[in-house]
Amino acid sequence: MASDTAAISETGAEEGVRRRDWIHIAALSTAGVGGASLLIPLISQMSPSADVLAASSTDVDVGAIQPGQSIKTTFRKQPLFVKRLTAEEIAKAKADDGADMRDPATLAQRTKEGHEDILVTMGVCTHLGCVPLGAAEGENKGEYGGYFCPCHGSHYDVAGRIRKGPAPLNLMVPEYSFTSDTVIRVG
């Protein structure tokens, strides 16, 4: 009969729970889970690939750095400054720990326990991204004896903290750890 082919009511609410609802819910849920799980590779493939992640850690040998000496290297394609502070520099940094500064931080917060003479910071000015001077021999260390950014005149102290100038934050200390007494792994 012609009426056999009338479309089936989808809501069924007026009839209560029907036998066929079970298979509808089961099939659509399974398809939904399948469809959602398809998204995982599609989204994950945009995350850093294995080679990028491998290049995302850098080992630096700090054993050869003399007190008062800095080295410049790279970390994730950006400049990295590693400095061994002299005893006077450590004292000066600690003395300033409570001083009035834009981004307050103590030397202890910016170094590792037992290695407070090793300062590891990014060589990127937190103002607009230039590479500050002061890491190489003979470069201008600014008024606070640390780093000086020539672009807009930001002065960082011996602990890499912003003391004068437009930069809003201290030089960034990346995640690092001592894998041995003389080697750090950054990132």
Binding site: M1, A2, S3, D4, T5, A7, I8, E10, A27, A31, G34, I40, P41, L42, S44, Q45, M46, S47, S49, A50, D51, V52
Partner: protein
């Protein structure tokens, strides 16, 4: 267009009413694949492959766009970037295998879709345009797949490109300059690889556009069905949703099980190991073969080993190479005239005993032989076999089909789809006087919906 008894879209909420007034997209969906589109109730699983082909197109576009984030089309690094995808990119191996096997599955599904069209004469009036658009889609698919296979820049990529672009040099007069223009050089190199990447990215979207036209053209007369008898009345149809959304969903599930099996357990089964060797213009592989889906056409190309000459004079009219090229393209281009070659007013092969025999014992074996010969080396016995099969192929469409369609005696058709499905149709018993009788509520003796007679 839809049938008179199709359900009308009725927006319920204030938002859907507003949307229906401004941009009636939900109405379009409802009328195309929803409860508002009546479809013959007797479609068998051979009618699933159109939807599966559309799914494969979406799959290839999604995986392709994502792969393009990591691939570089420069001859120095292309092969390396594919290995980078396989080894470094998160889930890169899965995406690459999905895209490569997706192409194979796209062709499997499309070939089954075409074979449905050939057996049930889906190409006949009033559906000729759907068929023509379909042949265009197939040609675009072949171009896309060919260029895509070149991109990994393996041995088969390079030498396949060399062979196929070499075909153009067979064209008299303009052949060689045309080949150089196509390649941007004198052999496949960086210029060719870059332009193939660009076009490979573009064509799927062109295919998508033609697919929209293909479906639009289909929705004018609506689907054919396994009996070939056109829809006459409401009892001949069911609404697309939920009947065919459910059936197509099930078919998609079966398809995905097969697809997942290949991608995760047999990912290189359909590929050629030589393509894991970087392209070397100085070293030709022992047997150059295209991917399996091109094998029948490759067999036709290679079947022509002798020049067409004027006998006893040694004057060459058409060299063998050009004959092969013409035959290969001709074998697909001839599908464009199929609606006018097959003169039978009966559509379905189930009701055409002579056509049926030639289809199953002539055409299908011929395609199988061409398939096998295409993947085999160009030696005996494959050469003679491909020549016989090529001869049959053209005879089947150009000679056998027109003659059979005129002389055969078809089996009697059912009165309607309802009769074919339910065994009886009340409308068949009512006198066809043109007045609506009290018997069947759905009977509309509408002369415009008669089968093509």
């Amino acid at each position: 267009m839809s049938f008179a008894w199709a359900k009308q879209y009725e927006p319920q909420t204030a938002f859907t009413k507003w949307l229906d007034e401004k941009l009636p997209l939900p109405r379009l969906v409802y009328n195309a694949v929803g409860a508002g589109y009546p479809v013959p109730r007797n479609l068998n699983y051979m009618w699933n492959f159109g939807v599966l082909a559309g799914f494969c197109l979406m799959l290839q576009i999604v995986t392709g766009v994502v792969l393009a984030m990591h691939y570089a089309a420069n001859a120095e690094v292309a092969f390396g970037t594919v290995e980078h995808i396989m080894r470094n990119v998160n889930w890169g191996w899965a995406l690459r295998y999905a895209h490569a096997n997706g192409a194979s599955f796209f062709f499997i599904v499309v070939y089954l879709h075409i074979f449905r069209g050939l057996f049930y004469s889906s190409y006949k009036a009033p559906r000729e345009m759907i068929w023509l658009l379909g042949v265009v889609i197939f040609l675009l698919m072949m171009a896309t797949a060919f260029m895509g296979y070149v991109l990994p820049w393996g041995q088969m990529s390079f030498w396949g490109a060399q062979v196929i672009t070499g075909l153009f040099s067979a064209i008299p007069l303009v052949g060689e300059p045309l080949q150089v223009w196509l390649l941007g050089g004198f052999a496949p190199d960086n210029a060719a690889l870059n332009r193939f990447f660009s076009l490979h990215f573009l064509l799927p979207f062109v295919i998508a556009g033609v697919v929209i036209l293909h479906i639009w053209a289909l929705h004018i007369p609506g689907s054919s069905n396994p009996t070939g008898v056109e829809v006459k009345q409401e009892s001949d149809t069911v609404p697309f949703h939920p009947y065919y959304t459910a059936k197509d969903g099930f078919g998609l599930g079966v398809f995905l099980i097969a697809f997942a099996t290949m991608v995760f357990f047999l990912p290189n089964a359909l590929g050629h190991p030589d393509n894991y060797i970087e392209a070397n213009p100085l070293s030709t592989p022992a047997h150059i073969v295209p991917e399996w889906y091109f094998w029948p056409f490759y067999a036709i190309l290679r079947a022509f080993t002798g020049d067409l000459t004027i006998p006893f004079t040694g004057i060459v009219l058409i060299p063998a190479k050009l004959l092969g090229v013409i035959a290969m393209f001709g074998s697909i281009l001839l599908w464009f005239v199929l609606p006018w070659l097959d003169k039978s007013p009966v559509r379905s092969g189930h009701y055409r005993p002579l056509f049926n025999k030639f289809f199953w014992f002539g055409f299908i074996p011929c395609m199988i032989v061409l398939f096998i010969c295409g993947g085999a080396p160009a030696e005996e016995p494959y050469v003679i076999l491909s020549q016989i099969a090529t001869a049959y192929y053209f005879m089947h469409f150009l000679v056998i089909l027109p003659i059979v369609s005129q002389i055969e005696v078809p089996k009697p058709l059912p009165f309607s789809i309802t009769e074919a499905v339910l065994g009886t149709d009340k409308a068949a018993e009512d006198p066809r006087t043109g007045t609506v009788t009290a018997g069947g509520t759905g009977t509309l003796p509408d002369g415009s919906l008669q089968p093509a007679e």
